[in-house]
């Protein structure tokens, strides 16, 4: 990995971290509001179905978490396990995208179902 790509990964991780910081707060507040008076599937769906803003928020949340986590775990694996090189980088990219897609699919489910 080039020095430039490494720098961009680092920047991406910090920027996603900043977004995650805000997103977690929003998420927590939503949870606190949602559980008041009991938590039901109908209530959740009433909020999320067709709500493009909520979908955008959860999709961005999932993407940021997937990329952030994969970049961070890549660093740790490089240091602790010596997993360095192109093959591993692609594997981490795959892991990041797959974890993000799980989240996006879940958000999509709440949006369209």
């Amino acid at each position: 990995m080039s020095a430039r790509a490494g720098r961009h990964l680092w920047v991406a991780q910090r920027v996603t971290a900043m977004f995650l910081g805000v997103a977690v707060l929003v998420h927590l507040v939503t949870i606190m509001v949602a559980v008041r008076g009991g938590l039901t599937a109908t209530e959740i769906l009433a909020r999320t179905q067709g709500a493009t803003l909520w979908f955008a928020f959860y999709a961005a949340f999932a993407l940021a978490a997937g990329l952030h986590g994969a970049i961070g775990l890549r660093n740790i694996a490089m240091e602790w396990l010596g997993w360095r090189g192109r093959g591993f980088d692609f594997a981490w990219l795959g892991i990041g995208v797959v974890t993000a897609l799980f989240g996006v699919r879940a958000a999509w489910g709440l949006y369209v179902s």
């Binding site: 080039s2 020095a3 430039r4 490494g6 720098r7 680092w10 920047v11 910090r14």
Partner: protein, 254 residues
């Protein structure tokens, strides 16, 4: 009244375990030297070499904390041995254990090969590149650098590095990633990034980027804690990260 010989307590001796060997491996050997009221670790090593083991290899030059050549691992920590008093690192009756500096290839006994350390200084862009004199010519005018300017003060904070390698030997990332430039090289780079007379800012920032550079530092500050000159390479590296972050976001560096 009992009298003790001046400058020395003849009854007590200091136990010293010294690592002997070379690149292929080695082991500790035990020696005893007279325990003195005032002696540095370097004095002890010199005593052993002069009186007991003439072929003991070690390195020193100035003996006053200026040249940076005498660093070793003493009781588990990298230190400059010429300015480290035995009584500061070993309680009375406790043994000394002296090993070659960590994270560097051993040449023989206590002498390590500093080449990788200084190669990384070069790789991190450690050479001043005069802005007004690309061919190394002397510029016609002297630059005016106000001593109180923020950049000058940032540069001043790291300028007294003696290249001893103590920080390099104390950094876990160096141990985990042989390509990692290490604290001293990046501390040097940060002084030059803040030198308004320097013209190689961009190249230098590129050189300290990425997995072998500042982005692998975890700000654990072992370097800062151990630096005998009380420099703060950890903050210098944080400065590089900060600069690179904004330069990347605003597209000053692609």
């Amino acid at each position: 009244m009992e009298t003790v010989p001046k400058g020395e307590n003849a009854q007590t001796s200091l136990k010293v375990r010294v690592w002997r060997g070379d690149a292929a491996g080695g082991e500790f050997r035990e020696y005893a030297v007279p325990a003195r009221e005032n002696q540095t670790v370097l004095d002890v090593v010199t005593q052993i070499q002069r009186e007991i083991e003439p072929d003991l290899a070690y390195r020193f030059a100035c003996r006053v904390g200026m040249c940076g050549s005498c660093a070793m691992e003493v009781n588990g920590r990298a230190r400059w041995t010429c300015r480290t008093h035995v009584k500061r690192v070993a309680a009375p009756g406790e043994a000394l254990e002296i090993r070659p500096l960590a994270n560097l290839p051993v040449i023989r006994d206590l002498a390590t090969d500093m080449a990788p350390f200084f190669d990384k200084w070069a790789r991190a862009g450690g050479t001043f590149q005069p802005k007004d004199a690309p061919d190394g010519a002397v510029p016609a005018e002297f630059s005016v650098v106000p001593p109180e300017s923020k950049q000058r003060r940032e540069a001043d904070a790291g300028i007294e590095c003696i290249g001893c390698g103590v920080c390099y030997a104390s950094c876990d990332i160096v141990a985990w990633n042989p390509d990692y430039l290490g604290p001293a090289a990046m501390n040097r780079a940060w002084t030059l990034v803040n030198d308004v007379r320097d013209g190689a800012r961009r190249e230098r920032l590129e050189a300290v980027s990425g997995d072998a550079g500042c982005h692998s530092c975890h700000s654990t500050q072992s370097c800062t804690e151990r630096c005998p000159k009380n420099l703060d390479p950890s903050s210098a590296i944080a400065g590089l990260k900060r600069t690179l972050f904004w330069d990347s976001l605003w597209g000053r560096l692609r």
